[in-house]
């Protein structure tokens, strides 16, 4: 008769598992990278002359940053903190000002027709602009759009944009598009 194998003492199993656990606990970094997502425009074909998309003057606001990190919105020099309100004002155009962007009534599925602003924010920077300033300006522009979206969704759904479900977010995105154009690189000369 085969001898019965003695039971292996498993009481140290917990210790071993703990050891491994502590190791993974320490090495784990659960930081998620965060940032500002952007979609670059595709490169125009070499032969094909890039045709400037005709955008009505009133539909575009140019944000320029020069090499001294001074910022201009349209033709007024501004501080970073002012950008957001100016962009909100520009994109929403509450008084249907003829110098501010037109609105095009679009039929959005799940919402019906809604006047969508045709406004585009164009961002131009110099080679010497600090990356930090650039990101701050980008951040302000995104903040402006988020504010409009929040406003819209609170009005329509009684909730902030971030709390909406995917389908609703898609509708809001369509009603308030994020049109930021990053111009072809060129040197923006600082105003003397």
């Amino acid at each position: 008769m085969a001898r019965k194998t003695p039971d292996i003492n498993a009481s140290s199993q917990a210790d071993i598992a703990f050891l491994l656990l502590v190791f993974f606990l320490i090495t784990t970094t659960m930081d998620v990278d965060k940032g500002i997502p952007r979609k670059l425009p595709p490169m125009p074909e070499d032969q094909q002359q890039q045709e400037d998309i005709k955008i009505n003057r009133r539909n575009i606001v140019v944000v320029k940053i020069n090499s001294q990190d001074r910022i201009m919105v349209g033709s007024t020099p501004v501080d970073v903190s002012q950008i957001k309100d100016m962009i909100v004002e520009f994109l929403t155009n509450p008084n249907d000002d003829p110098t501010k962007p037109e609105k095009e009534v679009k039929n959005i599925q799940g919402l019906g027709s809604y006047p969508v602003s045709k406004g585009v924010v164009s961002l131009q920077n110099d080679k010497g602009t600090l990356y930090n300033t650039y990101i701050q300006v980008q951040n302000e522009i995104v903040r402006a759009i988020n504010e409009i979206r929040d406003q819209f969704s609170t009005q329509r759904y009684g909730k902030k944009y971030a709390q909406l479900d995917d389908a609703q977010q898609k509708i809001v995105k369509e009603a308030i598009p994020q049109n930021i154009s990053e111009a072809e690189p060129k040197d923006v000369k600082g105003k003397k």
């Binding site: 199993q13 993974f24 090495t27 940032g35 997502p37 903190s81 080679k127 010497g128 990356y131 990101i135």
Partner: protein, 157 residues
């Protein structure tokens, strides 16, 4: 007839620890799965710019990183303090981004190639010249989804 139990001196029963290893293993697997080891050594110093409107980077496995910043102190004797681009484990020039993007794209599955994201981790003190060059190069290799990685900061007002 009657059986009597010795009462009064009842000791509390020992709690069984037999399930302890199971619990620990469960935790262990959780951390094993959620762990991601850092694959690259940093060769540039990056202090990310702060932003308030950050969005989480969704698919980390589809993301490739481009680091831009001043070389770390131990490399400054050799490379100076000018901003440099780091791809994988070494300093690279703008022209090498193309190969990097092609290689990264190749490593992804067919269906995911469209979703590839390039995360730019640049120091807040680099100049836009180098960033613009990177962006142009990325456009040329049609890697259009990018993200400027930033750190979360409190709103100023």
């Amino acid at each position: 007839m009657g059986r009597f139990r010795k009462s009064g001196k009842k000791a509390a029963p020992a709690i069984s620890t037999a399930s302890l290893p199971d619990i620990v293993f469960m935790l262990l697997f959780f951390f094993m799965i959620s762990t991601s080891f850092r694959q690259t050594d940093k060769l540039v110093q990056v202090k990310l710019p702060g932003a308030t409107e950050n969005v989480k980077l969704e698919r980390k496995d589809l993301t490739s990183y481009i680091y831009v910043g001043s070389p770390i102190p131990s490399k400054q004797a050799q490379y100076g303090t000018d901003s440099r681009i780091q791809l994988n484990d070494s300093y690279k020039t703008i022209n090498e981004i193309r190969d990097f993007v092609a290689a990264e794209r190749e490593s992804l599955q067919e269906g995911d190639k469209e979703q590839m994201t390039i995360a730019i981790k640049a120091d807040e003190n680099v100049r836009m010249g180098i960033i613009t060059d990177i962006k142009q190069e990325l456009r040329r290799c049609s890697a259009l989804k990018i993200m400027y990685v930033a750190r979360q900061r409190e709103a100023a007002n």
